[in-house]
């Protein structure tokens, strides 16, 4: 394998390829930062441009775009509280408060370092541990996906520690909204009120933009007496190095979150959107100061940004070993491989090992280059956005939200839905419902419902169909994790009370 790796570097370290990688990184960054343009779309958009290149180069560019896109989502999450991609939902929880406090540049730097770290970890797993890990992915069947969704929902108890009732209510609302459209099993049309456009359901990005962005823009408008919406950062000397050291001290968080990201990435059907929230949850759980999360602590950003970039490497593992895409953008890479006549699977490693190793190593190189590219663009972006007065910024953000929600399915209905959800989100925000749990419900609803109903159908072969949820060891692992996740905040509170009484 060593010679393969060295050979791969030989292909990559040419001026042409490096320039292509950098171009891909910039493109990916921009599409990531624009809410509405997801990694999947960015990759899909650029596939035709890659037809004129040879397959390896095409894959390299697409890989760079993908990696940078996931990272770029942090920019808008931090600057305007809108996740640029669903993988950065959790980055808004602590990134935006940091920006408001005047620590926006620091937040962006943290996101950059964390993303690079996570990306590298994901690629390392891809390089060394692909075959065994891929087989783990196969063991996840419908009951496991259901329990995984349940586990995901229990995260709400950490996210909404202030008012758990409202948190779960928000999550349930999200779950219900996710059922609008065609039922995954049976094909029934549900809750469309006669509008054929709603057959497609509520698109996640549209809801993200609506729930995260619109309420913030409307809040900006109510604070129109102020001119700038986020505090200006004084240009501090040495912030680059200082923040780097700060982030690197958090090895536990970095490593744990990256591993979570890699594993979630391996599971087909779950991607960065799930990974970043699970990682955030774990960071809260093991922290000594959980109540600080949500007010602007760098651990929050470290968890979300390292996990979501690890998903990139993780998602490619099942793609190249089994031919099964681990995350939505991988489906496009799969298509690209097929069009060029490269069949994903073991033959890819044996017959076309050249191409595969070059691709994997290019991801590595792209991630490293992401560091300077990100730092430069990030700081520039931050300084620009901070200087724009609200009377220009708010309408401009509306403009971006319109483009974003339109571009997903080329449908004006989606734009209206975005606005409607935005107003709903604003109302819910005034009622102190956090958008996090709602979007969690939206993301996990389809996964959970599909797992649930498919599992029940699987259970038809058993004497009691409900036993299907309880007769598999992997399911039990997830059930136990869910129970721990659910009860942890409550237990912690009990322990805390206990300590206080003892001290008195």
């Amino acid at each position: 394998m060593i010679e393969a790796v060295i050979k791969a570097f030989g292909h990559i370290l040419t001026l042409k390829v490096l320039l292509m990688i950098i171009a891909g990184l910039f493109g990916g960054l921009i599409s990531g930062a624009l809410p509405g343009l997801t990694a999947t779309m960015a990759v899909a958009l650029l596939v035709p441009f890659t037809f004129s290149m040879d397959p390896t180069e095409g894959l390299i560019v697409l890989g760079a775009i993908y990696m940078a896109c996931i990272y770029g989502g942090a920019f808008s999450a931090i600057l305007v509280n809108t996740p640029g991609t669903p993988s950065s939902i959790g980055t808004t929880f602590d990134g935006y408060p940091m920006a408001k406090k005047g620590e926006g540049e620091r937040a962006i730097l943290v996101a950059t370092y964390a993303s690079v770290y996570g990306g590298i970890v994901g690629v390392i797993f891809l390089l060394f541990l692909s075959p065994p890990l891929a087989n783990v992915a196969l063991r996840f069947g419908p009951p496991e996906y259901f329990w995984m969704a349940v586990f995901g929902i229990t995260i709400i108890s950490s996210l909404a520690s202030k008012n758990i009732l409202k948190g779960f209510l928000g999550g349930a609302i999200g779950l219900l909204i996710s059922t609008i459209g065609i039922a995954p099993i049976g094909g029934d049309v549900r809750f469309t009120a006669g509008f054929p456009q709603l057959q497609g359901g509520i698109e996640l990005i549209v809801a993200l933009i609506g729930f995260f962005c619109i309420p913030e823009v409307l809040t900006m408008i109510t604070e129109r007496d102020k001119t700038f919406h986020i505090a200006e950062t004084k240009h501090e000397k040495g912030i680059l190095v200082r923040t780097f050291v700060e982030v690197m001290k958090r090895q536990g968080n970095l490593l744990r979150s990256s591993i979570i990201g890699t594993i979630v990435g391996i599971l087909p059907g779950a991607g960065g959107s799930v990974a970043n929230l699970v990682a955030y949850n774990e960071a809260v759980r093991v922290s000594k100061t959980p109540e600080k999360f949500g007010t602007g602590v760098i651990d929050g950003i470290i968890a979300t940004e390292s996990s979501n970039n690890a998903v990139v490497g993780g998602g490619i593992i099942p793609l190249v070993t089994l031919g099964i895409p681990g995350a939505p953008p991988d489906a496009i890479l799969y298509g690209v491989l097929l069009i060029h006549g490269l069949r994903p699977g073991p033959e890819l490693f044996s017959m076309h090992s050249d191409i595969i190793f070059t691709f994997i190593m290019s991801l590595f190189v792209a991630t490293i280059f992401m560091l300077p590219v990100g730092v430069i663009s990030g700081r520039l972006l931050h300084r620009t956005v901070v200087r724009i007065p609200i009377r220009f910024l708010a309408p401009a953000i509306f403009f971006l939200t319109i483009i974003g929600s339109y571009s997903i399915r080329n449908n004006v209905t989606d734009v209206f839905i975005m606005l409607a959800l935005g107003v709903l989100g604003y109302v819910l925000k005034r009622l102190e419902f956090h958008p996090g749990p709602i979007t969690l419900g939206l993301i996990l609803g389809p996964i959970g419902e599909m797992g649930f109903v498919q599992a029940l159908l699987m259970g038809q072969m058993l004497p009691n169909k409900w036993m299907i949820f309880f007769n598999r060891p992997l399911s039990w692992v997830l059930i136990v994790l869910s129970l721990i996740s659910l009860c942890w905040p409550l237990l912690i509170r009990q322990f805390a009370k206990g300590w206080k009484i003892k001290e008195m």
Binding site: T222, A394, F398, L457
Partner: protein
Amino acid sequence: MKADRAASVVFLLASVVFWTQTYGLQYNGFIFPRAIIVLIILLSAGLFVQTMARKGDGQKSFLPANIPYVLVSIAIVALWIYFLNILGFIVSGVLFLSILTLIIDLGKPNLIAVLKVVAVHTALVVAFWVTFHLILLVPLPEGYLI
């Protein structure tokens, strides 16, 4: 408190509406939504009870300051979306962006200020249009004008 109470009632009513929509679906189609609706009903009832139990909690007032600006902005954006397919991307973009900026602004604008605003927005919208529509061939809303 009052807002929470009203919200819980709204959620309860909405749940009932959604439940009625589940008749006529197959088993595989209604089982999950119904479970969620039951959950929402229980949680909303819980929220309602909570508003009775706690006394005024120092909760932020529900209605924000400057609410007329918020409502007007929402209305303008709604109109903008409506006109996207009629006036086209560029015209509706420049028009409504400028309207929004001028409304959010403090003080009365003079003609020069208005022209500056329109110029800035025209540049912004055209730049996006060129990049996305012409170069990347991303479909953008099209109307009778551009």
